[in-house]
């Protein structure tokens, strides 16, 4: 019984606490700006509000548009089931699940993009084009990061890989882990549409990447989109935290608490980054992503000895 509970803990944390990341980021930014900021639980209130609303669909859209948020959320939940939270194992684990997790995230993105294109709006088309362009570079970086981790730990399942990233493993292949963590940090900021890549708070549709693709969604659909985005942030955040917080005591509650604290600091870190620097020019983003990929390649090379 206890093993079943432990196996479900990582997924339950993701499903329950993902919107809290957004709330924490907003609180951090408000702190730096000297504002009081929205309540920590505002993302939950927003989701509740959106779920009670009706949805409006443009006559020019088809089923693809309606399927976008549902498939997007379902795929992201699937990915969340495969990703461990630090020492807490994922709900599902099997050889090669890292490919499935990356694939599910890609599936979610694919549906967001075609739902955006389905509207026929110039803005959404522009956002879709940017999203695809950047993810074409972010995905290789993610795969290379997985490859480096698999190489360093000698495992092919995310739960096993992350289970083996302990303090001892850091002593052995610390440089590789550090490089991979840096690359995952870049992927995290890009995929979650944060500064310096995208500005989640802007109202300027011409500059948006992710937000502009979901402009036409409303009500529960938009709630799904928002929740899916928070969940995706949690998933990528856990990949990062699993490396940076190598607490693997074997006691599930200690490992879990350490990982949750790590997630908190990731959110605070994002808030700090957004408070102290401006967005990059869009042309510069691919360079940053290619850089992240290069870091992973370097990590793999370092692992070959």
């Amino acid at each position: 019984m206890e093993t079943v509970l432990i196996r479900g803990a990582a997924l339950a944390c993701a499903l329950l606490f993902a919107p809290l990341l957004i709330g924490t980021i907003n609180q951090t930014k408000a702190f730096f700006a000297g504002r009081r900021g929205p309540p920590l639980l505002q993302p939950y209130f927003d989701l509740w509000k959106l779920l009670r609303k009706g949805a409006v669909y443009s006559r020019t859209t088809t089923w693809v548009f309606r399927a976008g948020p549902i498939v997007g959320l379902a795929a992201t939940i699937g990915a969340a089931a495969l990703v461990p939270l630090g020492g807490l194992p994922a709900a599902l684990a099997f050889e090669g699940d890292l490919l499935v997790a990356a694939g599910l995230l890609a599936l979610a993105r694919f549906f967001t993009v075609i739902a955006a294109l389905d509207t026929g709006s110039a803005f959404e088309g522009m956002g879709a084009s940017r999203e695809v362009q950047f993810s074409a570079l972010a995905e290789p970086a993610l795969f290379l990061a997985f490859a480096a981790l698999a190489r360093a730990t000698g495992a092919l399942s995310l739960t096993e890989i992350y289970g083996r990233i302990s303090v001892a493993a850091w002593m052995q292949s610390g440089p590789s882990f550090a490089l991979v963590a840096a690359a995952l940090g870049v992927v995290f900021l890009t995929e979650n549409a944060r500064i310096p890549v995208d500005d989640p708070n802007t109202h300027l549709e011409l500059t948006m990447i992710h937000e502009v693709m979901v402009l036409d969604h409303g009500g529960p659909d938009f709630g799904f989109v928002q929740y899916g985005a928070a969940l995706k942030m949690w998933v990528l955040g856990s990949l990062l935290v699993g490396i940076l917080i190598p607490v693997r005591s074997g006691r599930w509650w200690l490992d879990g608490a350490a990982a949750l604290e790590g997630m908190f600091w990731v959110a605070v870190g994002v808030g700090i980054v957004e408070s102290v620097m401006a967005r990059l020019r869009l042309l510069r983003v691919p360079q940053m992503l290619v850089g992240a990929g290069a870091l992973c390649v370097l990590a793999i090379v370092l692992g070959m000895k």
Binding site: A33, R35, S129, D199, L204, T207, A278, L280
Partner: protein
């Protein structure tokens, strides 16, 4: 040509009526020699031009007969392009040979429903933005021709805010006139009201007391301070740089509150009246203002310095939305947009009136013509204006604040220029035989500068449009009138 100083009136009869050929040659010749068209307008059966000769500090007036059509000035003198479109739209006088003759305000028919430049070819796409925008701003329509992320051309279509102010001003001045002036462009209340007051004073021969002139100047500079500070914050916000954005939002309010301290209105409504100002500042008020100003100065310096010291901000500002100096000269841009191209163009320097005849403010220029230049010129102007206001508050002349203007003389024409925070404001008042406004022409700086924004966006990334737009921050209603 009749020569006239800023804020001076001449007999309308004395303005030379030139044959169209000579009129064209005069305007084109003067502009080639460095003059600028401050206003070009028709009041059938006549057409008038106000040329600004910056080097000499004089304005010159000329007139011609407005026929049903005439050979357009624009092909030889691009500065005239927007004026000629305005004339064609308002009075159905066709400038023949105008390269792109479309309405600018859509007086008849729906705004923005017209033809646009189009780029054809594989992968070229068109993006239409507005009139309803995502932020709380005025309505305007923007049409981009893009190739991927690259914007090849931007065309701006306005007119949504047209209220018919110039028509309503005819027959004035009356009780409503000054309120029209203060709301021509809501963020330039003091600027437009000052331009109007100077005209009435010129037509009525009023000598404004020194204290009134000084308080007016303080009001105008506070308006500049508030708007420039707000703009720098908005520029920071557009690149996602929160510290300056947050600080400047608050500091803009501090400057607005200083204006409110002077006259009870944060936007300077009710401050400027023909003959002087309506509110005096006693010693206690001046002391309070100086104290608040010193605090605001310290804060704004800290907040804005962050911009220049943050590499990620500078990377976005530098080299974005560059307007070449030649383009700026050809199109006759004004205000910070022109000074950012290295041109020393400032009414306070070239055509000083009011307090600026006695207290000069150094002109701030920067040569690169990009978003950084427009931002940095604003910052330098903030520093200069702060010095000016502090100095004037410290030595406020004694005496009355206002002398009620007398009777407005009939049959005269007055021209008034004011350097508003966006640039040159030009008002031309012509009185009829009863001493009423037969014609009142308003040229807001935005009228000159909207085309500058379109030029700044050539070959830029479309994602940089909001940044370029904010660096100009033009008025929709000031243009649409």
């Amino acid at each position: 040509m009749t020569r006239v100083a800023n804020g001076e009136a001449v007999e309308t009869r004395a303005i030379p009526r030139l044959p169209m050929e000579e009129f064209r040659a005069t305007v084109i010749g003067a502009v080639e020699k460095g003059a600028r068209i401050a206003a070009l307008f028709a009041r059938p059966p006549e057409m008038f031009v106000v040329l600004a000769h910056g080097l000499d500090g004089v304005l010159s007036l000329a007139a011609t007969t407005a026929a049903a059509s005439y050979p357009a000035l624009t092909p030889d003198c691009p500065q005239a392009h927007w004026f000629e479109r305005e004339i064609a739209e308002t009075w159905k006088i066709v400038p023949e040979g105008h390269p792109w003759l479309k309405p600018i305000r859509f007086l008849s028919g729906a705004p923005a429903v017209t033809e646009y430049f189009q780029v054809r070819g594989e992968e070229v796409h068109e993006v239409a933005v507005g009139p309803v925008h995502a932020g709380i701003i005025e309505p305007g329509h923007f049409r981009f021709q893009c190739h991927g992320e690259r914007a090849m051309h931007l065309e701006i279509s306005l007119g949504y805010q047209h209220r018919g102010v110039e028509r309503a001003l005819a027959g004035g001045p009356d009780k409503r006139t000054v309120h029209y002036m203060e709301t021509l462009a809501g963020d330039t209340s003091v600027g437009h009201a000052t331009a109007y007051a100077q005209n009435v004073e010129a037509l009525a021969g009023t000598a404004v007391p020194a204290r009134g002139l000084t308080l007016r100047g303080i009001g105008l500079e506070l308006e500049r301070l508030a708007n420039h500070t707000g703009d720098l914050g908005a520029l920071a916000n557009d690149v996602g740089y929160l510290p300056t954005a947050s600080f400047c939002g608050r500091l803009r309010g501090d400057f607005l509150n200083l204006t409110a301290l002077l006259c009870g209105s944060r936007f300077g409504r009710g401050l400027v009246r023909p003959g002087g100002v309506r509110f005096d500042a006693d010693a206690a008020k001046v002391g309070e203002a100086r104290k608040r100003l010193a605090a605001a100065r310290r804060d704004v310096t800290g907040a804005v310095d962050l911009l220049w010291k943050t590499p990620s901000v500078m990377a976005r500002f530098e080299g974005t939305g560059t307007v070449p100096r030649e383009t700026c000269e050809d199109l006759g841009l004004v205000g910070p947009a022109a000074r950012a191209c290295g041109i020393e163009r400032d009414v306070r320097l070239e055509f000083p009136s009011g307090i600026y005849r006695f207290a000069q403010i150094p002109v701030s220029t920067w040569g690169t013509g990009d978003v950084f230049a427009r931002a940095y010129v604003r910052w330098m102007e903030i520093e200069r204006s702060l010095e000016f206001v502090e100095e004037q508050l410290a030595q406020l002349p004694a005496g009355a604040t206002r002398e009620a203007p007398g009777r407005i003389e009939p049959g005269r024409t007055a021209v008034s220029l004011v350097e508003g925070w966006r640039g040159e404001i030009c008002h031309v008042a012509m009185t009829d035989e009863h001493g009423r406004f037969g014609a009142y022409k308003v040229v807001d700086p935005s009228f000159h500068n909207w085309i500058g924004l379109a030029m700044a966006l050539r070959e830029q990334e479309i994602s940089d449009f909001p940044l370029c737009n904010k660096s100009f921050n033009l008025s929709y209603c000031g243009h649409d009138l």
